[in-house]
């Protein structure tokens, strides 16, 4: 294992988690950027599916600790998208910005779907509005932010060799 690369990946993960708890509340957008999803997705493609699931679970649990009413929903959703991203990483080996953006978009949308369905708080029109309007918008913004961060962190985050 290349320890330098691992340390860089951990550093990038920590930076993204910090951004989630500083930049996101500072912006205060209605469709916020989900830096935790970006962090989990970028980490998941560098580890095995089991480790990705564990990373997703821990990250989701941290996020859930601030929303006790939906405790576990974030952990479950993050576990799912982390494992799925790790299994599907072969698809995104190509260093293509559009593919990465699509990767972030699908990951965030899938996270929202799993989270909202597990949370079981919304129903009917509210649920449809959330999943078909706000979640795609948030996913799109997360994808744009993910691409920008990927370009900025490219010197740090080099894709793992096949």
């Amino acid at each position: 294992m290349n320890w330098t690369r691992t340390a860089r990946a951990i550093l990038a993960f920590v930076v993204l988690v910090l951004l989630h708890y500083t930049l996101r509340p500072l912006l205060g957008w209605r469709t916020p950027v989900d830096f935790l999803v970006i962090a989990v997705l970028l980490s998941a493609v560098r580890v095995r599916p089991g480790a990705a699931a564990l990373i997703g679970f821990c990250t989701g649990l941290i996020a859930d600790s601030l929303t006790p009413s939906a405790f576990g929903a974030g952990a479950l959703a993050m576990t799912g998208i982390g494992a799925a991203a790790s299994w599907l990483k072969a698809v995104f080996f190509a260093d293509n910005v559009v593919l990465h953006g699509f990767f972030f978009f699908v990951g965030k949308w899938a996270f929202d779907i799993v989270y909202v369905m597990t949370e079981r708080r919304m129903q009917g029109v509210e649920l449809a509005t959330q999943l078909l309007l706000w979640s795609p918008l948030s996913a799109a913004i997360t994808a744009v932010a993910g691409i920008i961060l990927l370009l900025m962190l490219r010197p740090v985050l080099e894709p793992q060799a096949a």
């Binding site: 910090l18 089991g50 480790a51 699931a53 859930d64 006790p68 952990a75 479950l76 597990t118």
Partner: protein, 376 residues
């Protein structure tokens, strides 16, 4: 190799299933257990992140509320400016009270309103007229000194000219009576000396005997000659000598004691007060008009203090009477069976007997405080 891959896949699957099961379990945990786990995370691992989030949200709130904060600050500043103006006005009114106390009789106080706000700022409309005994050519004074003279009088109001008016003139002298002259408004700057800047709101003391030299800072007061202004009203202080073509007399530039913008409440001297009366004792032995004004203000303060003490004594007497009345009523209600009521207590709470205690008053004592008094 294949076994290692299969083993790795099995571990991945086990981890994934375990995470999913734990996630599902977390969603169906009892609320108290869920809150306990979440609270433990918040207090340990997530605590720094929560702190960061709070600071970020606080920064965003501060950023969003900056306009409201600015407008609130502006309002406070505006109110502060108004407070300063009110304080100044209060000081002037107190000084006016002091002057009235010094004068004792033969005057009326009035508000000086700006009747000509545009262009002409050398007149004031006074809120007293002939009904109050005011006549034309009576002097108008303020705590600092001479303001001007009444020009015309109506029954309820009158118009006065300030010393800045071009028709203003007053017979004046130095405070030590060593020099006499006539004070006019300083209207032209053509005769101004090099050291004295041309200003509209200054006075000139003309006709001072050539042999008499006045030093800057010398106080100039009314001389009482001419019968319009009684002697001793401060007019101003000497700034310096003006260069004139007249070889037989000197002319001095005077800094007035009263600033026209400060003229809002004035005192009009009535004709009886002017006849043969000198006002020197009011501003006598004062080194300058400012110190005289301070003394007059101090007199106003003593009046205010005395009024406050009087009102305090009156309030205490009223309170004592109320206590006595209530005690008398309480005595009457405590002895309903024809027993004569207690005589009314004398005023003074310290001398009043204790009020009779109600039979059920013990119920109103809190159980936790009832026992405190019994402890040694």
């Amino acid at each position: 190799m294949a076994r290692a891959v299969r083993s790795g896949t099995r571990v991945d699957t086990v981890l994934l299933v375990a995470c999913c099961v734990m996630g599902l379990l977390a969603t169906v945990l009892p609320v108290n257990l869920r809150e306990a786990i979440a609270g433990g995370l918040r207090r340990t691992v997530v605590a720094p992140l929560v702190s960061l989030q709070q600071q970020a949200e606080r920064g965003r709130s501060a950023f969003l509320s900056r306009e409201a904060t600015t407008s609130r600050l502006d309002s406070v500043s505006l109110r502060n400016m108004q407070l300063a103006r009110l304080e100044t006005e209060n000081n002037r009114l107190r000084a006016l009270l002091g002057l009235a106390r010094q004068l004792e009789w033969g005057f009326v106080s009035a508000e000086a309103l700006r009747s000509f706000p545009i262009g002409e700022d050398h007149q004031r409309m006074l809120t007293v007229g002939s009904n109050a005994g005011v006549e034309a050519k009576t002097p108008v004074i303020a705590p600092e000194g001479l303001v001007g003279m009444v020009l015309s009088v109506d029954p309820t109001q009158s118009i006065a000219i300030l010393w800045t008016h071009r028709d203003f003139a007053a017979s004046a002298m130095s405070a030590d009576r060593s020099a006499y002259g006539i004070v006019y408004p300083h209207l032209s700057d053509s005769r101004t000396g090099e050291d004295i800047p041309p200003e509209r709101y200054l006075l000139e003391l003309r006709g001072v005997a050539f042999r008499t030299a006045l030093k800057p800072g010398t106080q100039i007061v009314t001389s009482g000659l001419g019968g319009v202004y009684p002697a001793g009203i401060p007019i101003g202080t000497v700034l310096g000598e003006l260069q004139t073509s007249e070889g037989w007399a000197r002319t001095y530039l005077i800094r007035p004691a009263v600033r026209p913008p400060d003229v809002s409440n004035v005192i009009v001297l009535l004709p009886k007060r002017i006849e043969g009366q000198s006002l020197e004792r009011i501003w006598r032995s004062a080194a300058s008009a400012d110190s005289a004004a301070r003394k007059i203000a101090a007199a106003g303060d003593s009046i205010a203090r005395r009024a406050a003490a009087d009102s305090l004594r009156a309030a205490e007497a009223i309170a004592a009477r109320r206590v006595a009345d209530s005690l008398a009523r309480a005595g009457a209600t405590a002895q309903p069976g024809g027993t004569p009521a207690q005589p009314p207590a004398r005023p003074g709470a310290a001398e009043a007997p204790p009020a009779p205690r109600r039979a059920d008053s013990a119920r109103t004592v809190r159980p936790d405080t009832a026992g405190r008094g019994r402890r040694p």
